[in-house]
């Protein structure tokens, strides 16, 4: 145990030390090779060094990004046209399989459901809570409490909510909060996460519970950034509470709302832990990310099908990616 932690500590020292050493040494070598402080070619050397130096700074980052993100993306695309072990070319067979596979169709359906519900509700709740908490003196405490689930892992959150959805047969004491409330109101207790279709929503609640805090924090900052004049003018014109909110404030922060919405959309597309922990795709709750993980190992693993599902997730992300890049570029030109 101590050995393991010592190993981790050594890794930090060695890892950070090696990085620091690389940057220091690479820089020193460049200075030696192209001396620019004196000598006949100082000016020319300085120009050359200025061309090379950025790449010395960037090299480790580019290497790691290349190996861990860029190369795999290309390789995944290549694998999606190949068989289980990635060797024989099978054309579009994997995609044909996917389109005809019931489980895949189910996953697409559920993913669309998630994409429609979770970003919308998280953003809406986040916006409303941001507005409300900005109007009371203990708003910051309230915000902290609502933001808190952000720190909890999806698996931890799944345990928390599985406990709430816990089901005991009728007649026995319910220890799950939801069934206790239902029974208290005279209803019949249910095994919530096993009811097809509706169970998707019980799983979504978990992600909404986590993401609302994120939406709230960002939108709250945006709301505070709204110029006082517009609000004053609206108040003088007689706007009150909710009118002020929906007609004056919300339209001014559409940009931020879109950012929050798309960020949560990306999270939803990757949702995996919650489904794995709650149902592992049983009772018609399968989603793409979990199906992909399943195919990575199912029957010794089918890398072709797994990669195909990954590509499908990626295709869904691409529009947001392009939008993000455009936005970032526009912003940089503004600087």
């Amino acid at each position: 145990m101590e050995q393991q932690l010592l190993g981790a500590f050594a890794a930090i020292v060695i890892g950070v030390g090696a990085c620091a050493l690389y940057y220091y040494a690479a820089n020193a070598v460049l200075d030696l090779a192209l001396p620019f402080r004196r000598g006949p070619q100082a000016v020319r050397n300085q120009k050359r060094a200025a061309l090379i130096r950025p790449w010395l700074f960037l090299f480790p980052a580019i290497l790691i990004l290349g190996v861990y993100l860029v190369y795999p993306a290309i390789e995944s695309l290549w694998l999606s046209f190949h068989g289980p072990s990635g060797e024989n070319f099978v054309g579009v067979n994997n995609y044909v399989w996917a389109v005809n596979d019931d489980e895949f169709r189910q996953s697409i359906f559920n993913n669309v459901l998630w994409l429609l519900v979770v970003p919308a509700l998280s953003t809406f709740f986040g916006l409303v809570i941001a507005f409300l908490t900005d109007r009371i003196w203990w708003g910051n405490i309230a915000k902290t409490l609502i933001f808190m689930p952000m720190a909890i892992s999806f698996v931890g959150a799944s345990v928390i909510w599985k406990f709430i959805y816990d089901y005991r047969s009728e007649g026995s004491t319910q220890i799950g909060l939801l069934n206790a409330i239902v029974q208290g109101l005279g209803g019949e207790p249910q095994a919530w996460i096993t009811i097809p279709f509706w169970n998707n929503f019980f799983l979504m609640v978990i992600l909404i519970w986590i993401q609302t805090g994120f939406a709230m924090v960002i939108l709250s900052a945006a709301l505070r950034g709204i110029s006082e004049e517009t609000i004053e003018a609206a108040i003088i014109d007689g706007a009150k509470g909710w009118q002020l909110f929906f007609y004056i404030m919300v339209p001014q922060i559409w940009g931020t709302i879109a950012v929050v919405w798309t960020t949560i959309t990306i999270t939803v597309l990757k949702v995996f832990d919650i489904v794995l922990a709650m149902t592992n795709g049983q009772w018609d709750t399968q989603v793409l990310a979990n199906l992909m993980f399943d195919w990575m190992f199912r029957g010794g693993g089918d890398f072709g099908r797994g990669a195909t599902i990954a590509i499908v997730i990626m295709v869904a992300v691409v529009p947001i990616m392009i939008w993000n890049i455009r936005r970032a570029n526009a912003e940089m030109e503004g600087r």
């Binding site: 981790a8 890794a11 700074f57 960037l58 993100l69 109007r135 931890g156 345990v159 220890i175 206790a180």
Partner: protein, 382 residues
């Protein structure tokens, strides 16, 4: 000024609504915590919201076997107490058939036939009396309804830390998280400085790639990297699933955000400082180490918190790149395993889950300022 006043002037309805939302948002976690410190027998038969009240529940006990009978005044007597030592509680009623634990009230004497009588007192003392000697090897079963006072204990935590393997997993999670949080920082900081303040062809393109990579789903990388790791392990005869492997993997997955956040921050540093340093003869390397790095500490802190929370809470990368052997499971992976194997033992699950979320909660509550600053730098613009 009127506007500022109006912003803080929520009516009572606002207060009530926020209060209601907070209750909904915190009750799930609170319930988990309360459950984790309850006695496991009480936890399994009553809701956690009744934790402070005395619980009534049905129970089954067994009288001492006939071998322990005593002869008193010509009668044969078996006596004892239904409650285990150290357990406080009282018997409300009892019976001799499982369907009817309420047949007799505590203190009454039940006639079991054949001259046998059973008396159970409220404090759990029972007395079986018979005219003839008891026979057989097993004691009489007694069904009763017990009222148990609230009992809180750390027993669940003791159990999960040792026998359920949470203790080991906690160490594993630390082992994975700390290097995976610190190693990317330096790499990202250099890249961010180059992208912010150095001029070179291809800078805009590189920046666009980083922004694009921000949203590339992890799923795209899994299979190729798994193949790469397996191949690497085979060629060099080393295990494919190592801590070193997962540290670098997390570094790779965290780099786009790190570079993006740090570049945004570093490019906002005042130009005059850099230029006057350059006039004084400082190189880019000097400027970075002596000026940019110290000034960027808040941004570095923001990213560290992000990365720490993300790595600690990660499940997917851990189970793909660290394997499922018992001694290498991180907390999240262990929790998923427990959900499968101990799915109905809520005392195990609640205590394990609480240990899992404890560290991120502490980090979150103590460093929330930096986290929020990072979130805003990462996404609010336009």
């Amino acid at each position: 000024m009127a506007a500022v006043g109006s912003r803080k002037s929520g009516g009572w309805l606002t207060h009530v609504m926020v209060l209601l939302i907070i209750v909904i948002w915190t009750v799930p976690t609170f319930g988990l915590f309360v459950s984790s410190i309850r006695d496991k027998d009480q936890l399994s038969v009553s809701g956690w919201w009744t934790a402070l009240t005395t619980n009534e529940s049905n129970a089954t006990g067994r009288a001492a076997p006939p071998s322990e009978q005593e002869e008193v005044d010509g009668k044969f007597v078996i006596s004892g107490n239904l409650f285990e030592e150290g357990q406080r509680g009282s018997v409300v009623s009892f019976g001799t058939r499982v369907q009817q634990p309420n047949e007799f009230e505590a203190g009454q004497t039940a006639d079991l036939g054949d001259g046998v009588t059973l008396t159970v007192a409220a404090d759990g003392d029972y007395q079986l009396v018979s005219d003839t000697a008891f026979e057989g090897s097993r004691g009489q079963r007694i069904f009763y309804r017990a009222a148990l006072p609230p009992r809180f204990t750390l027993e669940n935590y003791r159990e999960v830390l040792s026998s359920a393997g949470i203790g080991q997993s906690f160490i594993n999670s630390l082992t994975v998280t700390i290097p995976a949080t610190i190693i990317p920082i330096l790499i990202a900081a250099y890249a961010a400085y180059a992208l912010a303040w150095m001029k070179f062809p291809g800078r805009a393109l590189l920046l666009s790639i980083v922004v694009g990579l921000l949203v590339v789903p992890l799923q795209m990388s899994l299979i190729p990297l798994l193949k790469l790791y397996n191949g690497f392990g085979e060629i060099f005869g080393v295990p494919a699933k190592t801590y070193l492997g997962i540290w670098i993997a997390h570094t790779g997955f965290g780099l786009p955000l790190a570079i993006y956040l740090l570049r945004n921050y570093i490019s906002g540093l005042p130009r005059e400082i850099m230029e006057s340093a350059r006039v004084d003869g400082a190189t880019d390397f000097d400027i970075f180490v002596k000026i940019v790095l110290p000034l960027s500490l808040p941004a570095l802190a923001s990213f560290s918190i992000f990365q720490f929370l993300w790595v600690w809470n990660d499940l997917l990368v851990a189970i793909v790149f660290l394997g499922a052997q018992n001694d290498q499971l991180v907390l999240t992976a262990r929790l998923v395993n427990l959900l499968g194997s101990r799915g109905s033992n809520w005392e195990i699950l609640t205590a394990s889950a609480f240990i899992t979320i404890l560290v991120p909660l502490v980090v979150f509550l103590s460093l929330q300022r930096f986290l929020i600053r990072g979130l805003l730098a990462g996404s609010v613009k336009g």
